[in-house]
């Protein structure tokens, strides 16, 4: 015979400490909770609203440069250290946690064109308009000592870009040609040139470390392998690409910022067509940097905004601007995936949050759970018109707003004209080019 007895285990209802939440036994039977979806909808709506209300991405402005900030560099080993070079040849090392400049040195005469920190973080290289490559120690010289470069290499022509190998003492510069240098030698160990052109940017692939890519002034992007004697391939686009950045998690993908207001993500194996075209800027895009997770990238534009794009999305998910920020020349994504740094014409470096509404600092587990839940809710209800409307709303300055409209009108007009031409010509004579194909002129083998 079975005897039924009421038995309660105190573990089920007694808190372990006073700080614990009260245990509330629940019946999860869905038939008892008929309004679950409407309630979640409301929660999602509220979460979206709160996200927009808390979206305050601007954190700090680092001022101190006496000319426009031309280049920046991340420290590979320290999150709080950042370097910036300005158009007057001055270089500053910043402490981001304290938001102050810790070191200033006159690196070059004329522009500091580019700089890069060695992979170990002990020294960094700068190039300037004075045709020199200088290697500096990361250590601040002691009291009374003069700032002097560890090494100086005098080049034949102006260098415009530099990048360092991920794990070896090799770096690459570009100018009239792309040179590969050994740190120990004063002349390049290899130089690549393909036609007569000048290069604006060279970048090592962070994953497949022997590969390089460069942007040339003849509107082309050229790929190299450090181990080969010749360049690999080149793609010519309608307008010049300013900079490019490799995806740090995907060996073959890179994104270039173009003068035609767009960014293009390429698969290096298929250069005949970009895999994604990112549109939204209303002026030339000057710089691009990937997030260390490889999921997103940030772009700086001449239109005084920076935008964040998901790597496979056509449109930006975020646009940052302030009234005082002028043409943004360089941009970097911090290596902990939390911040974005932008250096602009008006001598300031700005620190932004990578996700605008994120709460900074350590979160308690409950906070974290709430954040996760809200995130998921927003994701789930993102297609509902009310939620979408709020989530997608961004304020932009009037000039950009108007320019966008103008561009839109121009684009539709062009498309209309094209379709009209197609209608009135023999079928097949005016081919239908996809938006991606339009921007590629040729692929040179």
């Amino acid at each position: 015979m079975k005897v039924k007895v009421i038995s309660r285990n105190p573990d089920d209802y007694v808190r372990q400490t006073k700080l614990d939440i009260q245990r509330v036994p629940r019946n999860y039977d869905p038939s008892l909770n008929p309004f679950e979806t409407p309630r979640e909808y409301t929660r999602a709506l509220n979460a979206t609203k709160l996200e927009r209300v808390f979206a305050k991405p601007f954190l700090a402005s680092l001022d101190g440069h006496r000319d426009g900030v031309n280049c920046m560099a991340k420290h590979p080993k320290s999150l709080s250290t950042m370097l910036s070079g300005s158009c007057d040849g001055e270089l500053k090392v910043w402490n981001l946690t304290k938001r102050e400049c810790v070191r200033t040195l006159q690196a070059h005469e004329g522009f500091v064109r580019a700089m890069v920190v060695r992979f170990c973080g002990t020294s960094f290289f700068t190039i300037g308009d004075d045709k020199t490559i200088k290697q500096w120690s990361m250590e601040t010289p002691g009291y009374g000592e003069e700032e002097e470069p560890l090494n100086t290499i005098l080049g034949k022509s102006v260098f415009t870009g530099i990048d360092h190998h991920q794990e070896r003492g090799v770096f690459a510069t570009c100018g009239q040609q792309v040179d590969i240098w050994d740190e120990q030698r004063s002349s390049p160990i290899r130089s690549f040139s393909w036609g007569v052109d000048s290069f604006s940017c060279v970048r090592f692939n962070p994953v497949e470390t022997g590969l390089l890519a460069s942007c040339a002034s003849d509107r082309s992007i050229v790929l190299y392998d450090m181990r080969e004697a010749t360049p690999l391939k080149k793609v010519i686009m309608t307008l010049r690409s300013n900079t490019l950045c490799w995806n740090p998690m995907e060996a073959y993908n890179f994104t270039c910022s173009n003068e035609d207001y767009n960014l293009y993500t390429f698969d290096m194996r298929k250069l005949d067509m970009p895999s994604v075209t990112h549109k939204d800027h209303v002026s030339a895009v000057l710089d691009v940097d990937y997030s260390p997770t490889g999921k997103e990238f940030v772009s700086a534009s001449f239109d005084k905004t920076i935008r964040i794009f998901p790597k496979d999305s056509y449109h930006s998910r975020e646009v940052y601007h302030t009234t005082r920020m002028q043409h943004v020349i360089c941009v970097k994504w911090s290596s902990d995936n939390k911040y974005v740094l932008s250096g602009s014409d008006e001598m300031n470096i700005r620190l932004w949050k990578a996700s605008a509404a994120e709460k900074l600092g350590v979160l308690t587990p409950r906070e974290q759970a709430a954040v996760n839940y809200n995130q998921k809710l927003k994701e789930r209800f993102q297609h509902h018109p009310e939620v979408r409307r709020i989530a997608r709303h961004r304020h932009v300055p009037k000039s950009i707003y108007n320019q966008r409209r103008e561009l839109h009108i121009m684009r539709t007009a062009r498309l209309r004209k094209e379709s009209n031409i197609r209608k009135h010509s023999t079928p097949g004579s005016v081919p239908v080019l996809s938006e991606k194909e339009k921007h590629i002129v040729a692929v040179v083998k």
């Binding site: 679950e36 609203k49 939204d280 496979d312 902990d336 789930r380 304020h395």
Partner: protein
């Protein structure tokens, strides 16, 4: 070969005589010039090349010189004349005749083959060189050469880079990524890792360590031995789990099968076994027939087997009516018809089994016919001599039943709804013709089956069903179901439950892999859809949101400015896609018009007089259509549908009376009229929009007041509104889910660690993956794709631990 060589040599000689006048190459000319020079230098030294007598003269000359020297008396320093020995006498027994002559390759080779065989390769190469007369190609110009170089280099690098594809795809698919990728083990490190450089010093220690090293034993007090660690490396936890689940399932299936077999063996009913046996034999014969057609070799083998079994049968006393049962039957046979019959049957079986089989071959078809008698009956009836054209005579499901039914319409006249029934009946007929007994047996078998089914129906509540529509595992599922079907004892309920859990577990594990390609497809498609600007694009406006109230004020007008007027020209692909989707949707509902017109096109009137005008033709067509659709009355169906919809939409009266409230209530007592005031009359419904349109139904489900808040377009990854609704309706909050479930559902896609530098992808990851894709494990490729989820699970485990700490 030798002859040709000789011929060539001869040719060479003639060339020699020509004195190189034929040689055209610059090289040779230069060589000639050099030779000439050499000749002029050695002209005063009398050479042997000019004539035959030259040799003698020289000898004389040297003698003369010797004589003169001896005359002088004084000892002169002897000047030994040095001459090149090779000019006259070759070291290798090859004589170049004459000063100007050269030694040719062919001559060198001659000696080689004499000398040793090991040089045959070199010889071959030389031969080749000898035969190779043509000049070298001019080198490509620099531009072209570089292009080729570049192309080769690009190929190489793109191949190299493609090796990462697997990693990239995996990360793309992963439900959660945890950065940084290289994660150090948390918690205190072990002593051995921290302290290093300790050495064994005393001889005893040294001896011990040498022993330990020799046996590959841990030197320190470690948790895992080297062997264990290597085994852990060899198989990840996920893989191991998957494998274990698979094995478990397999074992369970096996045990169930065994149990089933045992149970069946235990059944005492003779008829059951007899029937079972017969069925088996029938199956076997069918199989044999097919084999005869498809694979004669295998059939032959089968035949051999049958022969063997026949021999065995002959050896044994089975079916000889000598057993216990047969003897008892023999006693009964006098009085019992059935017993006699049974014995007869038994003997027949024996006869059947001991009959010799003849292999039917294509050559002797006549022979076959003769030997038909000799063949046992089952071979006879399986013979495909039956009319191949007439599917009815075959009694099998033909490939195109619909067509054949049409052709045989006369026979199976009358309106039969499905082909299946006709087929069945045909089957039945044939069976009746051929073997009445068989049907009886089948009826009994069917009875068994039905009884079992009945029992199963009772068990349905216990046996869980397979809900997932996993395509990969239909066979396995079928197996599982079969097993659960055949379990007719109630004892096995638990086992069934177990097995279903196994399959579910297995499915769950595999599901990820099945989903993944679909997801990749989605990813690919998402790019297409992305072009449709609306979903991702920001609404950039001039309104600045400062407070929640501002959000309410965001006007809708400016929100859709960009999106509504977005150019449609470039979206051809997506449009066509949506069109397709639309078509599919429409196909679900039957449009009577569409159906009618289609039929009208298909059906042709064969002997319609040409002179008849259109009206008449139309009339006729209508008649035909009416005939064709005599069974289903579309119009009345439609009207019924409409009525039903109207009915459903009518507001109903609300009865708020509480029987027994304020008065007596109970069975047979009606609430008083006074309570009528609690009956709330429904308001008159607004007139339907299709009230005056007899052929139209307007769906009035759409409520304009909430339409503004509803999703009007099916979002991308979903294929059907139902799916989307399902996703939206399943709650994720902790109010409706257990804590673990909530944590699992709301896990973020990307996890980063605060204040940690995320390094780019490193080579180690790549190498790890390369090992995984090793060819040995290609069959279970889904294992690799699961790697991504592995991280996720690990992190979830971590997360599970976290709250407990607090």
């Amino acid at each position: 070969m030798v002859e040709s060589k000789a011929a060539k040599r001869r040719k060479r000689k003639t060339q020699k005589e020509d004195k190189k006048t034929t040689s055209a190459t610059v090289l040779q000319r230069i060589r000639d010039a050099e030779e000439e020079l050499h000749q002029t230098q050695t002209e005063d030294v009398i050479s042997a090349s000019e004539d035959e007598g030259g040799d003698d003269e020289e000898r004389k000359h040297s003698k003369l010189l010797d004589a003169i020297r001896s005359l002088g008396g004084k000892r002169r320093k002897k000047l030994t004349e040095r001459s090149e020995a090779s000019i006259q006498v070759s070291e290798f027994a090859v004589n170049a005749e004459g000063e100007g002559d050269k030694i040719h390759l062919s001559e060198l080779i001659e000696n080689i083959d004499k000398a040793s065989t090991s040089l045959s390769k070199a010889k071959q190469r030389l031969n080749k060189l000898k035969n190779h007369h043509s000049t070298l190609d001019t080198p490509l110009n620099r531009k072209e050469a570089e292009q080729i170089q570049r192309e080769v280099a690009f190929e190489k690098t793109s191949k190299l880079v493609s090796g990462w594809e697997h990693v990239v795809n995996q990360n793309q698919r992963a439900e959660q990524l945890v950065f940084p990728l290289k994660q150090e083990l948390s918690g205190p490190k072990r002593m051995e890792h921290v302290v290093s450089g300790w050495k064994a010093q005393t001889p005893l220690e040294k001896e011990i360590f040498s022993l330990l090293h020799a046996n590959n034993q841990p030197v320190h007090d470690v948790v895992l031995t080297a062997g264990e660690e290597s085994s852990i490396k060899a198989m990840s936890l996920e893989e191991a789990k998957l494998r274990r689940a698979e094995l478990q399932k397999f074992r369970a299936l096996q045990s169930y099968y065994e149990a089933k077999a045992k149970r069946q063996k235990k059944i005492k009913s003779k008829t059951y076994h007899k029937i079972q046996h017969k069925v088996l034999r029938k199956d076997y014969l069918k199989h044999f027939d097919e084999l005869l057609k498809t694979d004669p070799d295998a059939a032959l083998e089968e035949l051999n087997k049958a022969e063997l079994s026949r021999m065995k049968e002959r050896m044994t006393l089975k079916h000889q009516n000598s057993g216990k049962w047969a003897k008892s039957r023999a006693i009964m046979a006098k009085y019992d018809e059935g017993a006699r019959k049974a014995m007869q049957q038994q003997l027949e079986v024996n006869k059947d089994l001991t009959l010799k089989l003849v292999i039917p071959t294509d050559e002797d078809e006549e022979d076959e016919e003769e030997s038909v008698e000799a063949l046992p009956s089952f071979v006879n009836d399986a013979e495909p001599i039956v009319d191949a054209v007439n599917p009815w005579m075959r009694g099998k499901l033909s490939t195109e039943p619909a067509l054949q039914e049409e052709s045989n319409d006369m026979e199976t006249s009358g309106a039969r709804p499905g082909n299946v029934q006709a087929e069945e009946e045909a089957n039945h007929l044939q069976e009746v013709e051929e073997e009445v007994e068989e049907t009886e047996e089948e009826a009994i078998l069917r009875g068994f089956e039905e009884r079992r089914k009945m029992r199963r129906v009772e068990d349905v509540e216990v046996t869980p069903m397979f809900v997932g529509d996993n395509k990969e595992l239909p066979a396995e599922k079928a197996e599982a179901i079969e097993v659960s079907d055949d379990d007719d004892d109630n004892d096995n309920e638990e086992e069934e439950a177990e097995i279903s859990t196994f399959t579910r577990l297995f499915q769950g594990l595999v599901k990820n892999h099945v989903d993944s390609p679909a997801e990749t497809a989605k990813m690919g498609a998402s790019i297409c859809v992305g072009q449709d600007e609306s979903p991702t694009m920001l609404d950039e406006g001039l309104v600045r949101v400062m407070a929640p109230e501002d959000l309410e004020l965001l006007s809708q007008g400016d929100a859709s400015l960009m999106t509504t007027s977005a150019p449609r020209i470039e979206q051809t692909d997506s449009q066509s896609e949506t069109q397709h989707a639309g078509e599919k949707k429409r196909k679900i509902m039957i449009d009577p018009n569409e159906v009618l017109t289609k039929e009208a096109k298909v059906i042709k009137v064969p002997f319609a007089p040409t002179a008849v005008d259109d009206v008449e033709g139309m009339e006729e067509q209508r008649v035909i259509i009416k005939e064709a659709f005599a069974g289903d009355d579309v119009v009345s169906d439609f009207l019924k549908d409409k009525e039903k919809q109207e009915e459903a939409r009518k507001p109903k009266d609300l009865d708020l009376t509480l029987p027994g409230w304020g008065e007596w209530g109970g069975i047979g007592l009606k609430p008083s009229n006074r309570k009528r005031r609690f009956l709330v009359q429904a308001a008159e419904p607004t007139p339907r929009r299709d009230l005056k349109l007899p052929n139209v139904i307007f769906s009035e489900k759409r409520d304009s007041s909430i339409a503004r808040l509803q999703v009007c377009q099916l979002p991308f990854p979903f294929r059907h509104p139902k799916e989307f609704e399902h996703v939206i309706c399943s709650p994720i909050g902790h109010t409706w889910n257990t804590q673990n479930a909530v944590q699992k559902i709301t896990a973020p896609k990307v996890m980063t660690k605060l204040g940690t530098i995320i390094e780019p992808m490193s080579r180690e990851k790549y190498i790890k993956n390369q090992e995984l894709v090793a060819p040995g494990r290609k069959s279970d490729q889904y294992l690799e794709s699961d790697k991504g989820t592995q991280n996720k699970k690990r992190s979830q485990q971590k997360k599970k631990h976290k709250p407990k700490k607090n």
